[in-house]
């Protein structure tokens, strides 16, 4: 009895110190290289064919740069967990540039961390950095509604029933802006086109997304797109129902070879590589980065083979104008779907207009309620 415990305690201690030494060696190896440690935090899976994968593809582009070590953590909840994950990347791995990529991370968590670690740079996706926020924090986002607008034009050409569908997570400004842009794009082709929207209530609800897509198909809708974290379910369900789809976040053509028309994609590689390059050059990082097609922050999926030349020509023409920066999507007159005029004739709201970030209406032709 007396031998047992002391023996096992010693073994345990030995194991513990061995483990600690191993871990120490591990971190020293990482630091010895003198590489810039860049951390990415995702709220979902890195391979979700959606929001998180788009960021992970950006991280993969950073990995290819010299002198950089990329740290990734997926499925980090928007709770104190994200604080602890950031702490851990900084304290245990020596990260000096962090990209927390989920919207809900910004306030209060990223702001708290930026105050706590003033030497570490934080750049957050989707947040709205303002002057009073810490100078080592910042936000970046893209005007992806430009691509949704282009998808809408293609969808308008392809739809025979003149009824489009949209599977959406929540009626928040970013989502409403995409729904409206998609609809306005389609109405360039035919003003009588409608978009039926179904809100699932949350960012990742695979069962509801499938049900919603099926419900849309049952109503005779023949082109569907979505704004949820992982479009995989929507795209695959639509493909199995034999209707067309427009993708979101990343290229989903592989999931729907017969029905994938085009899609609105992020191009985070540009943003991340720019940030990292500036950090390596010792330059101050910008606090507020926004952009659309012109800045290369968003892009469109290649057209599916079924998209005819006429549709491509019209879409390409609008795209060229957007890239050149002389096209406005939200210009009056625009009425909402209750008949109220929301943008009077002669008024234009360009992409950088903050008014658009507070959108709380659905355009005329959208079937659904905010």
């Amino acid at each position: 009895m007396s031998l047992g415990p002391s023996f096992s305690r010693r073994t345990l201690l030995g194991m513990a110190s061995g483990a600690a030494a191993g871990a120490l060696a591990f971190s020293q190896r990482a630091r010895a290289a003198g590489a810039l440690e860049v951390g990415f935090l995702y709220v979902g899976s890195r391979d979700d064919y959606g929001y998180n994968q788009a960021h992970a593809e950006g991280a993969a582009a950073v990995k290819k740069m010299a002198g950089v070590k990329v740290l990734e953590e997926e499925r980090v909840p928007e709770t104190v967990d994200v604080v602890k994950s950031m702490d851990s990347m900084i304290e245990l791995d020596g990260a000096s540039l962090l990209f927390p990529t989920s919207f809900g991370y910004y306030n209060p968590f990223v702001l708290q961390e930026a105050k706590k670690y003033s030497k570490v740079q934080f750049r957050h996706c989707g947040g709205l950095w303002v002057e009073k926020d810490p100078k080592n924090a910042g936000s970046y986002f893209g005007y992806i509604d430009e691509c949704q607008y282009l998808s809408g034009i293609v969808a308008g050409h392809m739809s025979k029933t003149k009824k489009l569908g949209f599977v959406a997570a929540k009626p928040i400004p970013q989502v409403l802006r995409n729904i409206n842009a998609f609809t306005l794009g389609a109405q360039l082709v035919d003003p009588s086109i409608t978009t039926t929207v179904i809100f699932t209530g949350d960012w990742s609800m695979p069962v509801k997304e499938a049900e919603a897509t099926n419900a849309l198909a049952d109503q005779g809708i023949d082109v569907v797109t979505c704004h949820v974290d992982g479009p995989k379910v929507t795209i695959q369900t639509a493909e199995s129902r034999g209707i067309y789809t427009c993708g979101y976040h990343v290229d989903q053509a592989k999931l729907a070879p017969k029905g994938y028309l085009t899609g609105a994609e992020w191009n985070w590689a540009t943003v991340y590589q720019n940030f990292v390059a500036e950090m390596q050059a010792g330059k101050p990082l910008p606090n507020f980065v926004r952009g659309g097609l012109r800045e290369g922050i968003v892009k469109t999926s290649p057209y599916g083979a079924m998209v005819p030349a006429a549709a491509r020509a019209q879409t390409d023409a609008v795209k060229a104008k957007l890239v050149a920066g002389d096209y406005v999507i939200f210009k009056g007159p625009v009425a909402d779907n209750t008949g109220k005029q929301v943008i009077p004739p002669g008024t234009s709201h360009g992409q950088t207009d903050i008014w658009l970030e507070k959108m709380d209406w659905l355009a005329s032709g959208v079937v659904g309620k905010t």
């Binding site: 600690a20 871990a23 967990d81 245990l92 306030n107 209530g201």
Partner: protein
Amino acid sequence: MPAGMMSALALRLGAWPRARRRVIGRLAEAWLLPILALGAALLLFGGFVAASGADPADAAALIWRGAFGTWFSWQNTLQKASPLLLTGLAMALPARAGLMVIGGEGALVLGGLACAVIGASLAGWGESASAALFAQATMLAGGMAAGALWLMIPGALRQWRGVNETISSLLLNTIAIAVMNQLVEGPLRDPASLNKPSTPPLSPALMLGHVPGLSVHVGLAFGLVLCLGAGVLMQHTRFGFSAGVNSGNPRAALMVGIGVGRLVLIACALAGACAGLAGAVEVAAVQGSATASLAAGYGYSGILVAFLARHNPFAIIPVAILLGGIEASDGLLQRHLDLPDATVAVLQGFVFVAVLAAETFSGRLSQWFGARHG
């Protein structure tokens, strides 16, 4: 322990009175079985890590480092453990009275919502320290009350309508989350919360701070105190004894005159209060407002904690710290071995299954100790 040593031990024990041998047997069961189960789970996990192409020894070293290897890791572990202490109690307390209530997630969410609403309406109280303290107490009490009322529903349905409490509490989780989302996106929404619907933020003066000397919020202290209190309640009071009788045989409990209805309702209310407090702490110490992020799954993790602790409130403390540690090491595993996030879920799953399997041996060890030289 090698078999030879075991029998030598039993021989020595043989000289002891039978009653004491039984106690030793029971203690061995309480400690040895979970430890053996944990060992088995770690071995299985090692196999899993090797199969995913990483070195199990590296993984073990990283788990150790991320969970307990440094002071920083310890704090991280304690932080992850703190909600689990409370949600573990939310499962364990009714279980001690014979009810399998798994509604901790719903009670947590509504507790958080109540806290946020009360906190927003007491915004002006932050000006003086004593008023702020009173406001914080009111917020936490409100959260506990909301959780308690919520979990009394499955208790009452079971007691008086014969509805299975496991199913009803599970469904009530869904309802609670839907109610919270509806209110947060509708009538209670702060108009300034554009892309992340939430209630108006609490005034910073009303936010709860850290445990002194740690970077862990005070939820940890609440959890520890409540686990100890619940342990005393369940192990050393008439209430706890009555609960045990009801759990063992409800008819016998009725026969000996225990007020079963009251007992069940109180056990459910205490459980709901614990989960509601966890939600209130999430709002008052972490989020600053009620949002969809409240439903982070702590209520469900609490079920695992309570089962591993065999519904013993004292045992919830080490179990929550262990699971907190496993979760705290998640990041390191992902970052250094390029393993997916699901890796720690696999480890937790192995632990859960191994402990449940070990349960089937319970009773045999004490028999084995008691039978020798009897």
